[in-house]
């Protein structure tokens, strides 16, 4: 949870620190071998997604199991603007976020009538429903299994008025292409939104609206007994968090202009839950850390295959080495989800507060009681 010494000043330091860390990612990620644009974009996009999810789950206490649906809706809406209007990402993203906001409003209106696990199941069901629809009936809009892609035949009304080019033009921001600066432009574009999203989430957390949400999480009944109608607050939180997810989906489409239904699957929803939990529920930076750790681990683990493992264990006697390689190969490559599942369970069992709680524990052990009393 939030520290007890919160001043506008400490928030400013937190925000500036966060900004610096994010903007300097291409430098300090070098030694980890993660400083290439594709991966850093993923960090930023999923960080944004997790921040948004945290506003609903961490602050308001509603566990949504269908948040990936908003990513999908955001992506589809964005790609449609690319197809019909212009390859400039700004209008496309605005449209994507708006559409997912409206979608969240509808879903939230239905789901928020129930609490607890009813809510989780309802969101899960509705997300599965959207996923099924995207694969079947809505094929004219979503292009089914192939996924929505750009073609040379797309009208792109605004672009064609300005220039007549051949081939599919790249996505751009007022002329600067996403792949400019060796792909770093795409990353910085996402990073700006991540920082913006982080700032908004600080503001929400510190506002009276934020304390209202935490009040709902702690004891909704009591909130209602004080004569307060909690519904608009819950709905607002749901829509905000849906728009964050929509923005993440839009960014995915902006850096790589296609959209597929598999982004909406329940596994994707489960992944963001894991990111938030791993980082630390209800903390400000936790979700971003969780998202980065998981995407980094996914990148590392799924790249390892059996031949790498055999080489790794080659210093050992043959029998042991090949045995170890066989066992560990279950957990890497295509088996990465197994590692993810185990990690998920371990975190929920032993470290419900996530990495942030782990850091707190280590701090407390290192600095002893003095530190704790200073903090209070």
């Amino acid at each position: 949870m939030a520290k007890s010494t919160i001043t506008p000043r400490s928030d400013l330091i937190l925000f500036l620190g966060f900004t610096a860390v994010v903007l300097l990612m291409p430098l300090w990620l070098q030694p980890f071998g993660a400083a290439y644009p594709d991966l850093m974009q993923k960090f930023a996009i999923f960080g944004l997604f997790a921040i948004g999810f945290n506003i609903l789950f961490g602050q308001t206490g509603y566990l949504s199991f269908g948040h990936a649906a908003f990513i999908g809706v955001g992506s589809y809406a964005t790609v449609w603007v690319f197809k019909l209007m212009t390859m400039n990402v700004i209008p496309a993203m605005i449209f994507g976020v708006l559409v997912s906001g409206v979608f969240a409003l509808v879903i939230g209106f239905v789901c928020l009538r129930r609490t607890g696990i009813y809510f989780s199941i309802l969101t899960l069901a509705l997300a599965q429903m959207s996923y099924n629809l995207a694969y079947s009936v809505l094929t004219p809009i979503t292009n089914g299994e192939t996924g929505l892609q750009l073609t040379t035949k797309d009208p792109r009304f605004l672009d064609t008025a300005m220039e007549a080019g051949s081939g599919i033009p790249p996505t751009n921001v007022f002329g600067i292409e996403m792949s400019a600066w060796d792909g770093l432009f795409g990353f910085y574009f996402c990073a700006v939104f991540l920082i913006l999203g982080f700032y908004i989430s600080i503001r929400i957390t510190r506002s009276s609206f934020g304390s209202m949400l935490r009040g709902i999480k702690t004891n909704q009944t009591r909130m209602m007994y004080t004569g307060l109608n909690t519904k608009p607050y819950k709905l607002a939180a749901f829509v905000i968090s849906g728009m964050y997810a929509g923005l993440a989906g839009s960014l995915m489409a902006a850096v790589d202009p296609l959209a597929g239904a598999e982004r909406m699957q329940w596994t994707a929803s489960g992944e963001v839950v894991l990111m938030t939990i791993l980082g630390g529920i209800g903390t400000l930076v936790g979700p971003v850390i969780g998202a980065a750790v998981i995407k980094y681990a996914e990148n590392i683990f799924s790249a390892i295959d059996k031949s790498v493992l055999v080489e790794l264990f080659s210093f050992m006697p043959d029998v042991i080495g090949s045995g170890l390689a066989a066992v560990t190969s279950l957990f890497v490559g295509k088996g990465w989800h197994l590692t993810l599942g185990i990690l998920f369970m371990l975190v929920v069992i032993y470290l419900p507060g996530g990495i942030m709680e782990g850091i707190e524990r280590i701090k407390r052990r290192l600095f002893g009681k003095d530190h704790a009393s200073n903090d209070a």
């Binding site: 899960l124 629809l133 079947s136």
Partner: protein
């Protein structure tokens, strides 16, 4: 008219599967107060019990094929056929009923291990934590199965005796040809449901469990070890769900993610039926199964395209908006 009857029949077997999973979910929730997201994985494990048994009894050796004389040809002949002749082929043919015998102790063991090893540490934790840890467990179980059996569905066949179709309409003058195994599945699920209900209703053990569901503390004060009994109930629910998956294999070739597909729907079934109500779970299971198969009729689909994909969720939404507690939900269950 015939078509409608046929669709109702078609819904019964799917409804049976939903009802059995939902029954297990409700049982676990009613006794232990735990939301088990890994219940679909138990369904899947049951199905893979059938696959494993089938693999074991059809272990084969390569034998020279005498019928081909032009070149050296080999064919796989299962050991059982070599040793036992026709009896061996009969055993292979009946592999699914045989695997039932294997699956019951296996699923009971899995259920008890799950409850004792993991879930009991989560009784006092919030529901969100329970959902998350069982969700993680479901992923782990799924991935283990995937690692051993691959990602492709593995078709299973019903015994020859039950393959083919029966004409149910002959008696009432209608034309209702229906696959025999689906009928078997329906009867099987009804049998299991009846067994579970009479176990709870007519045995002393069941009486204690029901008392524990109503008021756990008082039962404990009377000196009864209710935790032990609830663990057994968890094992029982695992068996029910596993058998449901096992018997479903000839209808739907099992793959590693079938559990999750069924789980989402079964949760909807539980919500529609009413959390904590066993009859509600069963009734809603069959109801939604039948509605789903009615919605997949071409006549209906031509009016509402895609209705077959979403009918269950639509019904769930309507039920929750009109009767928030579900069709037969009890007051005071999961109201916080």
């Amino acid at each position: 008219m015939d078509a409608i009857f046929l669709q109702i029949l078609n819904g019964l077997d799917k409804g049976g599967a939903y009802a059995l999973i939902a029954l297990g979910l409700t049982l676990i929730f009613g006794t232990l107060g735990v939301v088990n997201f890994a219940h679909g994985a138990l369904f899947m494990l049951g199905a893979f019990c059938a696959v494993t048994v089938n693999k074991v009894i059809t272990l084969s050796a390569k034998v020279r094929d005498e019928s081909v004389t032009f070149f050296e040809a080999y064919k796989d002949v299962p050991y059982l056929e070599m040793w036992l002749g026709d009896t061996g082929s009969l055993i292979i043919d009946w592999s699914i009923p045989i695997s039932l015998v294997v699956a019951i102790p296996v699923m009971l063991g899995v259920g008890l291990a799950m409850e004792r090893g993991l879930i009991r540490h989560f009784y006092k934790r919030p529901h969100a934590d329970q959902i998350l840890v069982t969700f993680g467990l479901a992923i782990v179980l799924q991935e283990i199965v995937k690692a051993f059996y691959g990602a492709n569905p593995i078709p299973q066949t019903a015994p020859d005796f039950f393959s083919g179709t029966v004409n149910l309409g002959a008696l009432i003058g209608m034309d209702l040809t229906y696959p025999t195994w689906r009928l078997v599945y329906f009867i099987f699920s009804m049998g299991i449901i009846a067994a579970v209900f009479s176990f709870l209703q007519f045995t002393t053990f069941g009486m204690v469990v029901r008392a524990g569901m109503a008021d756990r503390e008082t039962v404990q004060l009377l000196g009864i070890n209710i935790t032990k009994r609830f663990s057994i109930v968890f094992g029982l629910a695992a068996v029910v769900s596993g058998l449901a998956g096992l018997m479903y294999t000839p209808i739907l070739p099992p793959d590693y993610h079938m559990g999750m597909d069924f789980l989402v729907l079964s949760f909807v079934v539980v919500v529609v039926g009413g959390m904590g109500s066993l009859p509600g779970a069963v009734a809603a299971g069959f109801l939604l199964g039948i509605l789903q198969s009615l919605a997949s009729m071409t006549e209906v689909k031509s009016i509402f395209p895609g209705i077959d994909q979403i009918i269950i969720y639509l019904i769930a939404m309507i039920v929750l908006l009109v009767r928030p507690r579900g069709l037969m939900g009890r007051k005071g269950v999961m109201e916080d």
